[in-house]
Structure formats: structure tokens, C-alpha cells
């Protein structure tokens, strides 16, 4: 297959004889998953990189046209698998905008806490593996231990530690109990200690700083032109955070800062992510102390949520309600409209563009995948750096293959 690099090199060095080509991936540990780069090298200098993707394309969007709004949540889970719940929240956020549902306060707080836990979940693994790729094994182990605590919290709420499929149209699967709240509190209490340790291990670590500072520079103009979002854009000085700019869930009530940096390099992205961990912790701390009471789902009279199990088993009305939701020929009204709604996922703006067609499944369920958009600027970031910087840049833009290829 002929190689036709997107932006052809102007440098005459491309014609030099000793320029050689290196195939990186699709199965390589530093890619974490599956992506392939064809690097043009002059010695160790990367002259150009051409990404090839699609090694994990599994037809998510096609499936979205065949599964209903509640079923498809199991699929979006598997999209960004570092933070499954964040995808569910984004998906149902879009669906609820299409249907015009106003969530109950308790559900909004609950989802906020989970979304922030997922942000930490994602950043923890990302920072850990970045350090791992750059030669620091300890940080990975420390952070993974914290991830296990988040797994436990999520498992307690939903029954599954990884792909939780926890949110539903108009609410969540189960309500949480005090035990759960206590466990979140415990996590909030204990996390800063580990954070400090890792901070000491990495932030001023000479090797780590040398390998990330000044690498993969992205200017503010380029970040905007490449549609970057999330920590990557904020590290380049783009002050945008959907949690603050288009508040959804309970973010309007909570107090937090948007972390930005002017650096634009891998180190800045690392710092932004580290700081966001603390901000998320702050949000969780506030939210968990203020969870409102009341029902977690919207009312059953909308025919969108399942009634409580005792009502189904003990009363005929409850049973009828249950069937109204479950039976394929029933269901609720879905407007024949198109809607785009986005949330601030750990990786950037994760949005869904849904076309409704008067049935309880989407006619078209398009994802705006942050990884896909971030990876498209990779050749721009890596040009004229060393071969060993490839892993640093890859780690710092946090590419999740399933989200990249869908």
C-alpha cells in the first residue's frame, strides 16, 4: 500500500539516503492498545509519522442503531474503557436531552460523584502508564492500587467492577446506601497521601522531567484548529471546561477550579492531569456530603423507568407499569429530532449526536470521540523529536483505541 503522508515533508532530508522507515505497532506495549504508526526516521529523529488506525473498529455506531437507549449503554461502556461510567453518563446525558428529561437532584449528585471518580480513574491509569513507559514502575503500582479502590466503590454501587452499565434513561440502576457513601468518604480521606507520594516520585524527578519537558509542544492556536479538548487543550492554554461553561448534572452547585497551563508540552499535560485529580477529589468531597434525599429515578408515570421491584411483584399497577416499559411495542414518545449533547469526559469533550425516529432506539448514534481527534494531531506533535519521545507523547494524549476506532 503506497504511503502518502498527510502533510508531505518540505525538508529535503526526506530524500536523503539514510532516512529509514520504522513500523511501530499495531501490537506494541507502549501503544497500550492497538494503533500503528509508520515513522520516518533520520537516525533517531522522527521526520514524519503516519498513523494507521482501525485495528479495533468494531462497529459501535452501527450497533447504536439497533439497540435501544438503555441497551446501548452496555456498548458505550466499552468505548473508553479507562472510564466506562463517564461514557454512560455522556450517552444518557444526550438521550435525556433528546427526550427532554429533567433528572432528580439525587441522581444528578450521584452521577456527578461517579463522573468525577471516573475522571480520577482515567487520569490515574494514564499517569501511571505514562510513568511506566518512561521507566518509572512504582508510580504505576501506587496508582493502580487507588484504581482498585475505585473499582470497589463502583462495584458496590452497580454490581460490576468494570463495565458497570449503571445509568438508565432518567436515572440509574440502583440507589446507593450509606455504606457506599462511607466508602467514598474513606477514599477521599486516604487518596491525598498516595497522591503526595507519587507527586514526590515524579513531579521533580529529573529523568521524568527531562523526558517530558518541551516534548510534543502544542500551541494554543493549533489546539483550537485541531479541535483539541479536555486536559490536552487546557494544557495548551485553552480555557474551556464544559463542567463550568455549560454546566450539566450538579456542577453548577459545586465549587471547583478549571486547571490550565501555558506549557503545551507533555509535562504540562502531566501537571494538568495531576492537578485535576485534586480538583476531582474536591468535587467528590463536596458532592458526597451534600447528596440530596428523595428518589433517584424520575417518576414511573413517564413510562421511561422501571418501577420498584416490590411494586411489580405485589400490585397489578406495578406489573402493568413494568410491561409498559419492557414490551417492545410500547415505550415512550421520542421526538423526531436531532440533538447533540456533550459532557466533559476525562479525555475531553465526549458528545453524542443522536437522531431520534419516534422509536426507543436511535436512528443514528454518532460519538464525538476525543481520542480520535487527539490522535489526528499526533504527527504534528512528534515531528522532529526523538524516537524515544514517541511513547511520552502517546502517553500524554491518552489514546484509547476503542474510542479511537469505535
Amino acid at each position: 500500500m503506497p504511503l502518502t503522508p498527510v502533510d508531505t515533508l518540505e525538508t529535503e532530508s526526506a530524500e536523503r539516503e539514510y532516512v529509514w522507515t520504522l513500523n511501530f505497532g499495531p501490537q506494541h506495549p507502549a501503544t497500550h492498545t492497538t494503533l500503528r504508526l509508520v515513522l520516518t526516521l533520520d537516525g533517531e529523529k522522527v521526520l514524519n509519522a503516519v498513523p494507521y488506525i482501525g485495528y479495533l473498529h468494531s462497529g459501535f455506531e452501527k450497533l447504536g442503531e439497533h439497540l435501544d437507549f438503555n441497551q446501548y449503554v452496555t456498548i458505550v461502556d466499552r468505548m473508553n474503557y479507562l472510564s466506562p461510567l463517564a461514557n454512560e453518563i455522556a450517552w444518557h446525558h444526550a438521550v435525556e436531552k433528546l427526550l427532554g428529561i429533567e433528572l432528580t437532584p439525587r441522581c444528578r449528585y450521584l452521577r456527578t460523584i461517579l463522573a468525577e471518580l471516573m475522571r480520577m480513574h482515567d487520569h490515574l491509569l494514564n499517569l501511571g502508564t505514562t510513568a511506566l513507559d518512561l521507566g518509572g514502575f512504582t508510580a504505576f503500582l501506587y496508582f493502580f492500587q487507588q484504581r482498585e479502590h475505585i473499582y470497589d466503590i463502583v462495584e458496590l454501587a452497580s454490581g460490576q467492577r468494570f463495565h458497570t452499565s449503571y445509568t438508565r434513561v432518567g436515572g440509574v440502576l440502583f440507589d446507593v446506601n450509606t455504606d457506599w457513601v462511607n466508602r467514598v468518604r474513606k477514599f477521599v480521606r486516604e487518596f491525598p497521601r498516595v497522591y503526595e507520594e507519587v507527586d514526590r516520585l515524579l513531579t521533580k524527578n529529573r529523568i521524568f522531567v527531562d523526558r517530558t519537558k518541551g516534548i510534543g509542544y502544542l500551541s494554543r492556536e493549533d489546539a483550537i484548529n485541531f479541535s483539541a479538548a479536555g486536559p490536552v487543550a487546557r494544557a495548551s492554554g485553552v480555557e474551556r471546561d464544559l463542567r463550568r461553561d455549560e454546566p450539566y448534572l450538579a456542577y453548577a452547585d459545586l465549587d471547583f477550579d478549571v486547571v490550565c497551563s501555558k506549557g503545551g508540552d507533555c509535562y504540562a499535560r502531566y501537571l494538568v492531569r495531576m492537578q485535576e485529580l485534586l480538583e476531582s477529589l474536591k468535587i467528590i468531597e463536596q458532592a458526597v456530603e451534600n447528596i440530596p434525599g428523595g428518589p433517584v429515578n424520575i417518576g414511573v408515570e413517564t413510562d421511561m423507568v422501571l418501577p420498584a421491584k416490590p411494586a411489580v411483584y405485589r400490585s397489578i399497577e406495578g406489573l402493568i407499569q413494568h410491561f409498559e416499559v419492557i414490551m417492545p411495542n410500547r415505550g415512550y414518545d421520542v421526538p423526531r429530532e436531532q440533538v447533540y449533547a456533550a459532557t466533559e469526559s476525562p479525555n475531553g469533550e465526549l458528545g453524542f449526536y443522536i437522531v431520534g425516529n419516534a422509536e426507543t432506539r436511535a436512528y443514528r448514534a454518532r460519538t464525538r470521540p476525543p481520542s480520535f481527534i487527539h490522535f489526528s494531531m499526533f504527527p504534528h506533535l512528534i515531528r522532529n523529536h526523538q524516537l524515544s519521545d514517541v511513547v511520552a507523547v502517546l502517553g500524554s494524549i491518552n489514546i484509547i483505541a476503542a474510542e479511537l476506532d469505535r
Partner: protein
């Protein structure tokens, strides 16, 4: 004993000695494509610690490994790569298919996802779950060790007799036709086919 053996000398079968050595130092090649890969990472990380079973030496070069762990879904574009990695691994080698996707396609019954890697490469152990919990993967590794001890031979004779694909019988007409076609031309040199034609990728059968 009639023959007086000096101290610290054991007598055993060569097969048993080889199995003992092999089973306790399985070197996995993590073929982690998707979410299951994260659980594979969790298995190797702090809490679950795969190192307790001698299988923590993840080598990312297939030429140094003897246990392929296929973690995650394998799609059309990736399958030729998987086959090539499998062929690059030296004998003796085993394969664990981890997760619903690798075993059967899982929730992804779509145009792009291969419905079970066992249709195209040999698989020794299936781990169900989406994703399997780390404990399940640990159990699979232990079970794998038992299997190596039970069936292994020093020269790998047990592999020679397994000359039929391990995948399920096809239920899809397209696939049935394909297998019929393949049997007609007697695909004797599978390895040649896999290194040569497989990398060209799929042709459209429709």
C-alpha cells in the same frame, strides 16, 4: 532402593521434568487489544499480582513467549496480525482466550468483529466474562499450568495430533461456504497461507 543414588539426585521422566519447568514459568505474550487488556494489567498490578504464579514475565516480543493471552476483541484488520504473532511464537506455546469477545465475539456481533479467535487460531483455554475478573484470569493461568503438566511432552508430540480447528461448527452460511471452498483446495500449508495471504487482509465475500 537397589541402586544407591548419591544425595540430591532425582530420577524422573524427561517429559515430567520439562513440564515442571515449563508450567512454572509461563511467559505470557499479552495481546491486549481492548478493555480486557486493562483487567490483564490489573491482574499483573498490585492487588492481584500474577507474579505469585510465575507468569509475570510479560514479554512483548512474541519470540520470547510461550503463552499467548488474547485479551479483547479481535477485528478484521487485526486478525492477520494476531495470526502472524501466533506463528512467530516458538514451540511449545499455548493460548488463552480471555473475555467474551475473544471467545465468541461477545456483545459485538457486527460486521467487523471476528466471532471468536478460536475459528482462526488454536486456543487452549477460554476465560468467560466481560471482562473476566482478575481472579478468573489467575484461575485460568493455574489451570493452564495443570494442563501443561498433564499433557505436555518434551518434544511437543501432543500438538502434532491436533490438526483440526478448535472453533465451533459454523452456523453462518457464508462461513460454511468458505470452509467448503477451503477444504476443496486442501489448504495444506496453513502456515504459508497465513504468512503470505493472510496479511493481504480479507476479501469481500458478499
Amino acid at each position: 532402593m537397589a541402586v544407591g543414588l548419591p544425595e540430591n539426585i532425582f530420577i524422573t521422566k524427561l517429559d515430567a521434568a520439562a513440564n515442571w519447568a515449563r508450567s512454572n514459568s509461563l511467559w505470557p505474550m499479552p495481546f491486549a487489544t481492548a478493555c480486557c487488556g486493562i483487567e490483564l494489567m490489573a491482574t499483573a498490578a498490585s492487588r492481584h499480582d500474577l507474579a505469585r504464579f510465575g507468569a509475570e514475565v510479560m514479554r512483548f516480543s512474541p519470540r520470547q513467549c510461550d503463552l499467548l493471552i488474547v485479551a479483547g476483541r479481535v477485528v478484521m484488520k487485526m486478525l492477520p496480525v494476531l495470526q502472524r504473532i501466533w506463528l512467530q511464537m516458538p514451540e511449545p506455546k499455548w493460548c488463552i482466550s480471555m473475555g467474551a469477545c475473544a471467545c465468541s465475539g461477545g456483545v459485538f456481533d457486527t460486521y467487523a468483529v471476528v466471532q471468536g479467535v478460536d475459528r482462526f487460531i488454536p486456543v487452549d483455554m477460554y476465560v468467560p466474562g466481560c471482562p473476566p475478573r482478575p481472579e478468573q484470569l489467575l484461575a485460568a493461568v493455574i489451570e493452564m499450568q495443570a494442563k501443561v503438566r498433564r499433557t505436555g511432552t518434551v518434544m511437543g508430540r501432543e500438538f502434532a495430533i491436533r490438526d483440526t480447528p478448535v472453533g465451533p461448527t459454523p452456523f453462518d452460511m457464508d462461513e460454511r461456504y468458505r470452509i467448503q471452498d477451503a477444504n476443496l483446495v486442501q489448504l495444506g500449508g496453513f502456515s504459508a497461507a497465513a504468512t503470505g495471504t493472510a496479511l493481504k487482509g480479507p476479501a469481500n465475500h458478499g
